[in-house]
């Protein structure tokens, strides 16, 4: 396409964005129009992509970080002949693939769901890093960012990571249209403000008039030719560009144009230009799915081991068996024990430094490229990446997250380091699996099982050593549980997981000596829960006592309720959980202070058993 055709294409993308939003009665045409010329040049001149084969390993990757500009993306798909005009006009209606913000669940050309700002670049960094260090492919990653989202720290976390990793296959295109949702951005049209920041983080930068298609073409060529550094193309644009009543005006964010027909006419009417997008270079998919035999570490009953140690050793073993497993860590690999994986598989280990958002985004980027990521940090610090976990679930990404140092049982470090809200956070993630092992063999099995699950899988591990309760050949299906104590005369069931399992066993054994039968269930699969076993225990023993090293809301106690929502009567339920703000103390003191140690469990179980005896 020559200059005149590029200009025409830019107009078509504007026109189609306006039409789609007008048909929907909502959407973001003005945010689309500012980037229309950038998109036209990218599509016609620089992107190498086979729309018939979105899984082509040589395809460039395009991420619309400013996801609200979805009309532009869908208009580009139309221009690339990937979808038709009729579908374009289904935008934002029930059942349409063209959602308000793009998701890969609906459209095969979308790499990752966006719409929560400041996430596209971090995930793009992950994809570019996969290209360099895992896929060893030459694809380029183009990320179209808004200027407003540059306020998100996650953007600079990503910029730091990309600069440090020298990702010259990554191009951030910043659409500096000066206007955010409710008014001007911090820096308005000061392109230098953005360029200086990117440059400080080690990027090559190019400032350009984003409506001069030849200049944009040169900028993209310069970006593609830059070695050893990622490039930021910082483009001066006008929101609503090309339509007088909208151009550079406030108050028109996220709304159809007031007079769409007039606007289309002003832009020269509807066109039907089709772009022949460059073919990607030949490439092959590299992630050799492991055919190795999985030899998990083994512990004998009666050994002592920390589940975090088991996690690290099992992950290393899994990495040996499977060539597609990769590990990431937030600069605490000596604590989470991912250092064991790093030692054995340095090429598939990714140090993310203290940047949890980037870590999860990078894991999402790896998952997009077909790798099987395990990302670890303290459970407490995964809260930092909550929005990224949420969006990864919208994308349908398969990612395992490991939160170590869960609960008050870490001891002296105090509440800032204690994951006490993580089960609540992870249970509420759509389609998630939440696993909380209590011993080393169980941990190892669950590490392996997680690799083949869909969606977000969360594995909670503990700092301190505990007894090995299960033999190395025991199996732990996801959605299952283990009944560890049971008799014909149980009068209460204690439901525990992780560090409270040994406490529950001690309590049950103490009560057994007193002549009171107590059933103990190890609910290692917190989501999904084992409804059958819980229901049976409730019916046979009459009362459930849950005990967890977690806040009382949203954790194990609430999870148990899932088993009793079928409209049948619910058993008596009592919950032990962490109700106060812990300070520093030894692990044993912490469990006692929180009222989740063996003695507290025994006291509550005794009371429930007595109550059961009273008609």
């Amino acid at each position: 396409m020559d200059t005149a055709e590029l200009v025409e294409l830019g107009r078509q993308l504007r026109v189609d964005s306006i039409r789609a939003a007008a048909a929907a009665g909502s959407g973001h045409p003005t945010s689309s129009m500012s980037a229309a010329d950038l998109m036209a040049v990218l599509l016609a001149r620089h992107l190498r992509y086979d729309f018939d084969r979105p899984d082509h390993p040589g395809n460039d990757r395009f991420v619309l970080s400013k996801g609200h500009a979805s009309p532009l993306l869908y208009s580009a798909y139309k221009a690339a002949d990937a979808l038709g005009d009729e579908e374009l006009l289904t935008f934002r209606t029930l059942g349409s693939r063209l959602e308000g913000h793009p998701t890969p669940q609906q459209l095969p050309w979308v790499e990752t769901a966006t719409g929560s700002l400041g996430q596209g670049l971090p995930i793009g960094v992950g994809i570019a890093l996969a290209g360099k260090r895992l896929d060893h492919a030459d694809y380029r990653v183009w990320v179209l960012c808004g200027d407003g989202e540059m306020a998100e720290g996650s953007v600079w976390e990503a910029a730091e990571h990309a600069g440090h990793e020298r990702l010259d296959n990554l191009v951030a295109i910043v659409d500096v249209n000066r206007l955010g949702q409710r008014g001007p951005t911090r820096h308005g049209h000061d392109l230098g403000a953005y360029a200086r920041r990117f440059a400080a983080f080690g990027w090559h930068t190019v400032e350009v008039d984003g409506h001069d298609v030849d200049a944009v073409d040169r900028a993209f060529a310069e970006a593609a030719a830059t070695d050893g550094r990622p490039t930021a193309v910082v483009a001066r644009t006008l929101k609503g560009s090309g339509v007088a009543e909208a151009e550079d005006r406030e108050g028109l964010h996220g709304k159809p144009l007031p007079h769409p027909d007039a606007a289309v006419a002003e832009l020269g009417g509807v066109r039907d230009l089709r772009v022949r997008v460059q073919e990607p270079p030949a490439a092959r998919s590299l992630h050799a799915v492991g055919d190795g035999v999985l030899e998990l570490p083994r512990w004998e009953r009666g050994d002592e081991a920390a589940t975090r140690d088991a996690y690290g050793r099992a992950l290393a073993a899994l990495g040996t068996a499977r060539g597609d497993v990769v590990a990431l860590d937030g600069e605490v690999g000596d604590s989470t024990r991912t250092e064991l994986f790093a030692k054995e598989h340095p090429g598939r280990y990714f140090e993310c430094y203290i940047a949890e958002q980037q870590m999860v985004a990078e894991a999402a980027g790896f998952a997009v490229r077909g790798w099987v990521p395990y990302a670890s940090t303290f459970a407490a610090f995964l809260t930092r990446a909550h929005d990224f976990v949420r969006m990864a679930a919208v994308s349908g990404c398969g990612i395992t997250l490991n939160g170590s140092h869960a609960g008050v049982s870490i001891g002296q470090d105090g509440p800032s380091q204690m994951g006490l809200e993580d089960l609540a956070m992870m249970r509420a993630v759509h389609g998630s699996t939440v696993l909380y092992p209590c011993d080393a063999n169980q941990t190892a099995r669950l590490v392996a099982a997680a690799a083949d699950l869909d969606g977000i899988r969360y594995l909670r591990t503990s700092r301190g050593s505990g007894p090995v309760l299960y033999g190395p050949d025991e199996e732990f299906p996801v959605g299952g549980s283990k009944v560890l104590r049971s008799s014909g005369r149980d009068r209460v069931t204690v439901v525990a997981a992780g560090v409270t399992v040994p406490e529950a066993l001690r309590a049950a054994d103490a009560l057994a000596e007193e002549g009171t039968g107590v059933r103990v269930i190890d609910l290692y699969s917190v989501k999904p829960v084992d409804r059958g076993t819980l229901r049976q225990a409730a019916e046979e023993t009459g009362a459930l006592l849950t005990v967890e090293d977690h806040r009382e809301e949203g954790g194990l106690g609430d999870a148990v309720l899932d088993a009793f929502l079928d409209g049948r009567p619910v058993p008596r339920l009592v919950r032990l959980a962490v109700r106060t703000m812990p300070g520093s103390a030894t692990p044993a003191e912490q469990l006692r202070a929180a009222g989740i140690d063996a003695e507290s469990i025994a006291a509550s179980a005794r009371l429930l058993a007595v109550q059961a005896a009273v008609p």
Copy 2:
């Protein structure tokens, strides 16, 4: 103090840090030692602080962003005569005020809890901004940061905000000791890497040898004298400095020194220097707690209004009545309606742009200074600040968070914009209050009530208009609920909140026409829940049906369980919630697709009523 004395003081701070960690058997002496000279100079020469009056409005504010260096902080308190040597050696033991990471709940001189890295600077920015724009006081805010935490995006989010606000009362001291937890940081001793980044964000920067007390003194003086910009003092230091076996060595993070007695001897033994800290300048506390009469907006029954509109109007009215109320927003004030507050109280309105972590940190900083902050963005995007909310709870901060656009009922924008996990997140925060109003008058009352609550209070609002169900004089105590339908023959109770309340009423009215009594409870107080009303309803109607525009985990359905954990039998419970990944659709289509509209409620209630009739 002269140079020699400063050197001695630096040694004493090292010695005491070593001794405290040795006594505890854990802690971070090496991270303390790298910053000991920086702290010595700050304490003896620059900090203006009255340790007898931590609430002195003229006091400088010191934030230990690298909270794990708590031994250094406590050693400094000892040097300032604020605590004794005996207490110093209680470090990290049960009941001690000297926790592993400092918290203001324990020590009056601690401004904010730290220990989750990358939070001290953002909160310091909030305190400095309060100094400039609210307190109109001359205090300076000194934040001691680690180099490792510079990887956190939140640091650059804060740097951007501070640069933009020209906070020349803010000094970030970066302790560049080269070593993180598991090994070298990204930039090692490259001071320029940090200085360039801060400079790009508009900061003045000074690079200095952090063990040259005279140079440090000059750097702090330069920082204090800098006008119109915040200053970053980037200091080259050695981790474990002063002790040969620890200095600049890997593998010693977060551990007592291997030979503490020898280390103390190497540093010249135990000293007992006392520092006379400069007095703060006279100042007075400015936040005139409002004595105005609160005139909340009023709606009449039968009107239509969105709870987000009611939020904005009520917040503006509250700001008129109370001079201590401030509002913050994440660049969506036209959506959350905080723009109404901004218009009436521009001096107490803070635009945080799209930076949710900074917004919550800033709110925490304002709360530290005695202001009453209300911070708003979409409910979905509050997940971005989860770790900051968690840590604000550790600090015991009083902050109201408003999440608008909750649930699938927002309609076309799709899942990226839908807050569906927010109730789970906020319920699990220690000491939180979670409120979810269903109409405009209720919203207004709860906005006002939130101001006087302790801890984190969360207010969930909705995008679309709904019927005004309550009169303007109705009261809504926190922890209460409203029974909206009740008869002597109710056979099921529907528990709803927010947008599902009108749906529940429609369902109940439909069933009433069929002759089936359905009780409806508006559970606007999700935490704490109204146990009495729920228990009574369960006993009188036999079954509870919860219905919520939220994921099934951790929200209203789980909250209801709180009423039934007293060991008495639990009623039959059934839960309606959002179980699938929504796409784009109209609000009504969304409620129907999620199975939480009136028809779905009616169908489930009918089934429960029939089951109840079967013996």
